[in-house]
Symmetry: C2
Subunit: 152 residues, 2 copies
DNA sequence: ATGGATGCAAACGCTTTGCATAAAT
DNA sequence: ATTTATGCAAAGCGTTTGCATCCAT
């Protein structure tokens, strides 16, 4: 893997620009999410990973920070189905997700046709658009192969 | 309103055909969902409404029955966003939902273009399609008007 | 000294479970 | 007699909250 080297300064910058205090907890969370761009994580996981780096932080703080970051528009919380919602860096790009129900892997995609229809439909129903949830669930190729090794 | 008159016999029929026992609890739940076709309800709500009819049923039984019905394909559980999932009669028709984040109203829609793109994308990613979640969230016309009565 | 951020523990809402009872075949 | 469904109460899970403390301005 080639994780872009840690960028706590960059994170601090972004936090300040977003009007947040830039506490060490905020930095730790945002920094982790930035390193793992295009990664999708549950709050527990984020917390656990940060704890591993030595940073000592309470889980409730992780939740609180996550809320702040979402509020500030730096992070997005994506509902991926029932009882499954993850946090990701908000890149500003509209996209949706594919989720493997076996291994939990998450991929992103973006489809202009879907996006257009989606907007049109909301308008049609007089819905002042506020958000969307689109996740395709299924079994990814790897997991399918693993389940039926006979027929790869 | 014109609620099609109660159809416990029809419900029992459907249950038997689906291989379920057809207990009074199962009948009550399915019947309620059938009467309210195109309605969307949380487990609590279903339970409460049934209780009102005199039928005495425990909430956990409601959940268990709901599971059975979903398993049998008679009912679908639709995740409508974070911490929001409702049960609806499974009519077999593919459709998605619009949700008003203010009043909670749920509308259904079905868009062939979206459905097609969705299938194509899943295939493209090698995802053996298993399900989808699409809900558009926003403020419905009524709630918008209520919020800004000056500018209807 | 003021306001926000934190840890901790306790509460939360929704859902599931264990177990003993009851019903149905 | 065996299986299946039910009620009840308790636990579960992920998340949120109250409160006292801590930190930074």
């Amino acid at each position: 893997m080639s994780p872009r080297s840690s960028s706590p300064i960059h994170a601090l910058d972004a936090l300040k620009r977003a009007g947040l205090a830039g506490t060490s907890a905020q930095i730790a969370v945002l920094d982790y999410l930035q390193q793992a761009e295009h990664g999708h994580f549950g709050a527990e996981e984020i917390h656990r990973r940060i704890a591993r780096t030595g940073e000592r932080m309470n889980l409730s703080t992780t939740y609180r920070v996550l809320h702040q970051l979402v509020g500030a528009g730096l992070v997005a919380n994506v509902p991926l189905g029932k009882d499954h919602s993850l946090y990701e860096l908000n890149t500003g790009k509209v996209h949706d997700h594919l989720v493997c129900v076996v291994c939990g892997r998450v991929e992103e995609f973006s489809d202009v046709t879907i996006n257009r229809r989606r907007a049109a439909i909301a308008k049609e129903f007089g819905l002042r658009f506020a958000g969307k949830t689109l996740a395709l669930q299924g079994v990814c190729a790897d997991c399918a192969a693993r389940a039926h090794p006979a027929r790869p």
